[in-house]
Every structure is written in C-alpha cells, then in structure tokens.
Symmetry: C2
Subunit: 247 residues, 2 copies
C-alpha cells in the first residue's frame, strides 16, 4: 500500500501561472512539485493541494498530499525535494498522514492575507508582495462594510468563475483590517473561498474605503448574487495564503 | 549656475552590475539614474554616489548628488525620476544642497548591514537579501574576533583591489553581531570601507565562527596586510548599505 505524505509548502508565486498544473506551461507550483516528486518515486505522482492559488499569488503554508511508494523517511523526502525545487518553492514539512487524509476535502478553514502598501516611496524590497495604493483608504468604512461579509452567505457576487456550478455558499469567520506603518493588511478566515473571491472582496472593500461605495451597499451586493455589482479584482501579488486548518 | 541636488536612493541590487556606470552594460544603478536624470535635464548629467556598491549589493539609503539646470522643484524631480526608474530603484528624497556638497568627499561615515539566514527552511520571500548558512556559527567567537577590527587600522588584508594605490587605512567605530530568530546580522559603522571590505570581513568572521580560525588570529591577519591571509568573500546578496553620514 502506498504511503500518504502530507506536505506543508511555502512559495513565492511571482513567476508562476498559479498552483494548478497546466498543459501549456510548466510554470505552476503543482507542476514543479510533481516533477520533483515523480523523479524521486520513479513513477508519475499526483500532488493534491488544499486549494488552487491564482497566478502570482503566494503561500506561506499551503497544505498538500500525495500517495507515494518510496522507502525514504519523510525528512529525506523533504530534503530531496528542497534540493531540486527552485529557490522560490520550499517544502517546509513532510509528514506521514493517515490513508484517508485528503488535503482539499479535509480542509476545515483557510487564512488569507492581502497586503497593501501606502507609503510615499516605492516598496523596493517587498514590491512583489504588496499592492501599492496612492492614498490611505478609510479603514473604518471598510471595517463597517466587512461586517456584512462575515457569517454564512452566498458569495456568488464575489466569484470569479461565471460558470460555477457548485454551491457558492461559504462562511467567513472573521475579516480584520489593520494598518501598521506603511502597510494595510486584510486578513480573512473562513471555511473556504471561491475563485478570485478574496481579491474581489478586497477590491470591493477598497472601493468602499475610497468613498466610491457606502459600507451598507455590501449587503445589497451580496444579495444580488451578481458579479457585476461587486468591485474590481485586486491584483494577485498582494495576496498570500497564510495557512490551512484541519480539524 | 547649476543647482546641486542631493538624492537619497534605495535599491535592490539583484539585477545590477553594481553602482558604477559601465561601458559594456546599462544594468548599473548609476547608469539607470543618469539616464533618467539626463532625459529630464535634456543634457548629459553625472550622478556622484557616496560609494560604489558591488554587483548584487543593495542599499536602503545611498546618498548621491548631481549638478542640474532645471526649474522643477526637488519634489517634482524626485517624482519624475520615480516614474521612469525601474521598480527596484527608488529616489526616496531629492533636496537642494550647497554648491560645495559632494556626496563622496563629504561623507563622514557609513553603515553596512550583512544578513545571514540560519533557518532550516529556504528563505522563500527574502532569498535575494540574505546569505544562507547551514548552521549557526559561534557568535561569541566572532564578537571576540571583531574586537580586533574596531579602531583605526590598515585594512589592506581586507581589500579586494590588489592594485589599490591610495591609503588602505580606515576606522571602524563599531561592529555588532546579533541573532534574532533565523537571522544573523552583522552591522558595521566606519568612516569608509575599501572595495569588497565588508564582505571579506564577514567571510573572515564566519570562518572564525565555524572554528576554522581562532578569534585572536584576526590581529595577525590585520598586521600582515596580505589579502591571502584573510577569509573568503561573503556573497553580495547579503550586503546592504544602510546609510551614509555627513557632519
């Protein structure tokens, strides 16, 4: 029987077309991981990720799992992968998981962080990880708008996939918006997020912060279940998957 | 009479062949700055930097100056430059300076910081700004060795230019070595540094920290005035010019 290995993976998404393997490019996180793990196992191996981050989105701790048949220890598998992976992808941990562990189906929650930069000078050293704003939005207005988003809702208005057939109902436990120096951070915790959802939520909150929307408009945007009524999609580079929870 | 503008410049040196303009490449910090400023001034402009950082070395606050004849305000000059400079070079400040101000000749001190990373996982997000070490060197031994370096000495043993004709005497006021989490930082303050000097100092200190040298060997290395007796040159990417002082 194959071993089920659970991986914790950190990556800088700048150079990649997202998590998901694609036919027309090998510049995907899943593709890079599978190539290295398949070479180690001397057979094709599929890596299942807890989610599929968009092109340019980063992750501090993505969880993934794969069924493998090698005799190496988990530490040796981790070290082998880190030796052959590019410098912008790192396996933080590899651990033996139960045979039924599935990184996507078993995930009970996710934390995403979106970082905006509001300084006057260009952010030379973290330019790949922040989205620059010309001015500070009204944080209090954004917090008021965010209150309408927490809880269990149909987030169809905030779904980037117009052909989404499955349920668009999700639960957001908390949204925190904090300013610290030149950085404005949006932190989202929920049971799961639709395609582009965090970026569209941030875009809509920013439009509220810049006075283009009133905070309580968020309620009618949610109720409309119409993507056209929500705001712009904030750029990928400011977004980072912080962690995935399992019960 | 031309105006003398003093610039404070931040840059990520990763993509550049160093500060100094070169004939065979336009990938230099000075070259990029001069190209933009010359276009603004509609005539060739020379930018004088307080120092010449090596290829791959970064700066948080490099000081430079240039004689220009434009009627724009300093803020407008700064904004124009930032609009046209690449995203890894930023003019933090432009200010009117006295006609006699010379960023190199008037500099009275410089602070450099060298950052090593000692974590188990690859430093995905700051991989361009740190040098990875396999293990933590003996910090106390390095501090003892560093004590021999502070003060006024002939640093010929730590000079990367074998054809150096000018004085190799410099004064280092302080060297601090601090460990914080996975980061080990060397901070140097002195009146000036020779070519590659900080990197060779760090390399020699690391060899001490790894037990390849005894701390008090540093004294004889200094006295020998022989580059061959000092240690290896630490990689460029860990080095950052923090600030330049003027009296």
């Amino acid at each position: 029987m194959k071993r089920n290995i659970r991986f914790t993976i950190c990556y800088d998404g700048t150079r990649y077309s997202g998590w998901e393997r694609q036919k027309n490019t090998d510049a995907t996180i899943q593709g890079k991981l599978e190539a290295v793990l398949s070479r180690l196992c001397e057979e094709p191996v599929t890596i299942i990720g807890a989610g599929r981050t968009d092109a340019g989105v980063h992750a501090r701790e993505m969880t993934a799992n794969a069924l493998v048949s090698v005799s190496m220890s988990c530490g040796q598998i981790r070290d082998y992968m880190n030796t052959w992976l590019p410098e912008d992808i790192c396996v933080l941990d590899a651990a033996e998981a139960g045979p039924r562990f599935h990184s996507r189906f078993n995930a009970s929650g996710k934390t995403y962080c979106y970082t905006c930069y509001i300084g006057a000078a260009k952010p030379v050293f973290d330019r790949k990880y922040v989205t620059c704003l010309d001015q500070l939005p009204d944080v209090e207005a954004m917090r008021q708008a965010a209150e309408f988003l927490t809880g269990t809702h149909d987030f169809a208005s905030f779904c980037g996939n117009p052909k989404m057939k499955k349920s668009t109902v999700r639960t957001i436990d908390s949204i925190t918006i904090t300013q610290k120096g030149d950085y404005l951070r949006f932190s989202f915790h929920g049971d799961g997020f639709l395609q582009n959802m965090v970026r569209i939520l941030v875009g809509t909150l920013l439009e509220t912060g810049f006075g283009k929307r009133l905070p309580d408009e968020m309620k009618s945007v949610l109720e409309a279940k119409n993507r056209a009524l929500a705001g712009f999609m904030a750029p990928a580079q400011g977004l980072c998957l912080i962690a995935v929870d399992y019960n």
